[in-house]
Subunit: 407 residues, 2 copies
């Protein structure tokens, strides 16, 4: 298996009809970008109330492994792309058969989607491609811990289930011999747990000609209770040379994958300045949401440009610093849940993006706030003021202050 060649359809003319498997907020924002650039979108989702339903041109509601629905998607679209990793194998197989018959394209390729959705295959590929990544062991469901670790990896260690994890699910840290008893009996990747590293992400777009645009790296802060990203900062507090290294490594990884679209490369930055690729998402990503307001061309437009055969755009920022706050649902967001618009500029620097999910659950990603500033501090302050406004239930932009008197 090699991932280093360009997609065979790379020289084809741009296409119009884009199918998207998955209907969440990433699909919503992909469809909005597609509409701006004149593409026609068809979303396959298993939930008729999912956010993308509101922005797609056409919607197919069916399980993601529904054969008839996937057939319809292939018939209706020139190219199919993905807003989540967990695409059922049967669907990937069906897409590959259609590709082989020249009925459709996919970006990224089925090969890359298959590799990335299994964290074991992905890790093996990273290692084989000589990209910087932590040492690891692959274990099966029957593997037992030994006294000091698992599969040759010493404590403290991280266990990542090979299949199905996201947003912190399917990942656990085991620190002590006692905790080793909690090892899940599932096929997993075992890695050393790093101490006090910074989590960095680089969103990279690659087009059919192999040209690459990498956004500045962002640093991510996590909500300790929810184990979900709470704050994303661009370009963060990283020194320029570290920023450059992050972009270079991420670009090399995406180039090595050899596929087309937007990819998010998550990196560990250690205290002594080493960079390791944690994992790659073959899609637009939460860490790239601040590109909506922070850059001339956001990750969603870049992805839609790339998968439809257009060149990706250069990276042009609209402000020196940008910050995103995820809106993880809690009781303070009742007003937003019942009344927020999809997009609301709170002022010229701060925008609320709300996904319109009908069901609110504690900790669920319901939207995000983007803020721009001349410094990270200024952007953060504005973002937090925006959050306070949302939490206070005020879902209006600043009101007009003048009321003319009738003459």
């Amino acid at each position: 298996v090699t991932h280093s060649s360009n997609n065979a359809q790379g020289d084809a003319a741009p296409v119009k009809k884009v199918g998207i498997i998955g209907g969440g907020q990433l699909g919503l924002l992909l469809c909005q970008a597609g509409r701006r650039i004149g593409l026609h979108t068809t979303v396959l989702t298993d939930d008729a109330t999912s956010p993308a339903v509101h922005s797609a041109d056409d919607v197919l509601v069916a399980q993601l492994d529904d054969s008839a629905a996937v057939t319809t998607l292939i018939q209706q679209c020139d190219v199919v792309t993905f807003e989540l990793e967990a695409i059922p194998d049967v669907t990937l197989d069906k897409l590959q058969t259609a590709i082989d018959q020249a009925l459709v394209m996919t970006h990224p390729s089925v090969e890359v989607m298959t590799c990335i959705k299994d964290k074991g295959l992905q890790k093996t590929w990273l290692s084989d491609a000589r990209l910087p990544t932590l040492p690891f062991a692959l274990i099966d469901a029957k593997t037992q811990a030994d006294s000091g670790g698992v599969g040759g990896i010493d404590l403290p260690l991280v266990q990542k289930a090979r299949q199905g994890g996201y947003d912190g699910k399917g990942v656990q840290i085991l620190r002590t011999a006692e905790e080793l008893e909690e090892l899940w009996p599932v096929p997993s990747v075992i890695e050393p747990a790093l101490h006090n590293c910074v989590e960095v992400a680089v969103v990279v777009a690659r087009d059919v000609d192999g040209m690459i645009s990498a956004y500045p790296p962002v640093t991510m802060e996590f909500d300790p209770q929810l184990n979900a990203v709470s704050t994303v900062i661009s370009p963060g507090l990283l020194a320029p040379e570290v920023q450059k290294s992050c972009r270079t490594i991420a670009s090399e990884a995406v180039n090595a994958l050899g596929s087309v679209g937007v990819f998010a490369v998550e990196l560990f930055l250690t205290q002594d300045g080493e960079l390791y690729i944690n994992e790659i998402s073959p899609r637009v990503h939460n860490s790239g949401h601040l590109t909506i307001d922070g850059f001339a061309h956001d990750q969603f437009e870049q992805h839609m440009r790339a998968v439809s055969g257009h060149p990706v755009a250069a990276i042009e920022s609209r402000a020196p610093a940008a910050v995103m706050l995820n809106l993880l649902y809690d009781d303070s967001m009742v007003a937003a849940h019942t009344g927020a618009p999809y997009a609301l500029a709170l002022d010229e620097h701060v925008t609320l993006h709300w996904y319109g999910k009908p069901e609110a659950r504690p900790g669920r990603k319901m939207g995000h706030i983007n803020a721009l500033g001349d410094s990270t501090e200024a952007a953060l302050e504005r973002a937090r003021a925006g959050l306070a406004k949302i939490q206070s239930g005020d879902l209006n932009p600043p009101k007009a202050e003048t009321q003319a008197v009738a003459s």
Copy 2:
């Protein structure tokens, strides 16, 4: 007839379903704004290929005086608004009947739409409301010129047909006794022609509570051949105190109308600093297109907020200066006509907005370019560079400059 009271439905809760009569680029951009803020739009258009068809949630294709279609629009919508003045009388009558039966609302009111679409009624209203406007005479189809003028207005003078004019159509300047023979035999407004005045427009939003937001005034340059606006500059070269006077007069006029939505107030600014209201458009307007990129809340969002019962937003600019160039079709735009996306950021300061009209005709408004800058000069320079790029057939954003080498 009085227009100075709030709409009787002013205290109603916000509504969701907005009908728009007219399907041009103004409708396209209104529907896009409606989508962002979670409204449902239904467009009534006589052309199934008109721009708004691509962004409306529902489309009714019928003549604008089609009784069944207007009935359907009333049934499907909470409020009806307009993207053009020339609404047939029979349609306005039908809407008023539905309003009287509490079946629907309209913003602006039928009363205001009826007044404004007839330049004679509008001019009489301006005068009666003691708003600053030029002296005028109303003439009928049989009126003859006298030796020095028409209806008591001396040469040079302007004749404006009372019905149906737009974009310079239905308006002529008569300068000499000889030219007086060209007087059209149609009911008209006759005004003195001003020498070397500056044409200024102020876009004003008024909500159901009577709160008003007025954008900074723009100055307009006209294409001498096409007699259409070619360039709009905000806030132009007007002194701050003149800007203030323009906003005050425009706000007073919109407040006096007492209706809800966005209105464009066109003003003449004479060499000696006098301001006269030329005319009022009861809708979003070409002179407000630079608000899309130049302000946190553009005229389209303000209109949709206002007509759906939300408060209008304060005016917050994103840059000190903004410029818009209308793209009036000529042979240099063939590439754009065949390939431009609806929205394309040429860089972080310049955006192409293309309306996707299937038929290009010389002089037809096909799109516009917005540019921002720290000064009018900087914004103009960027806008013109953007225009040159479009005319060269380059419809891509700046391309990525890096191509990572496979590791």
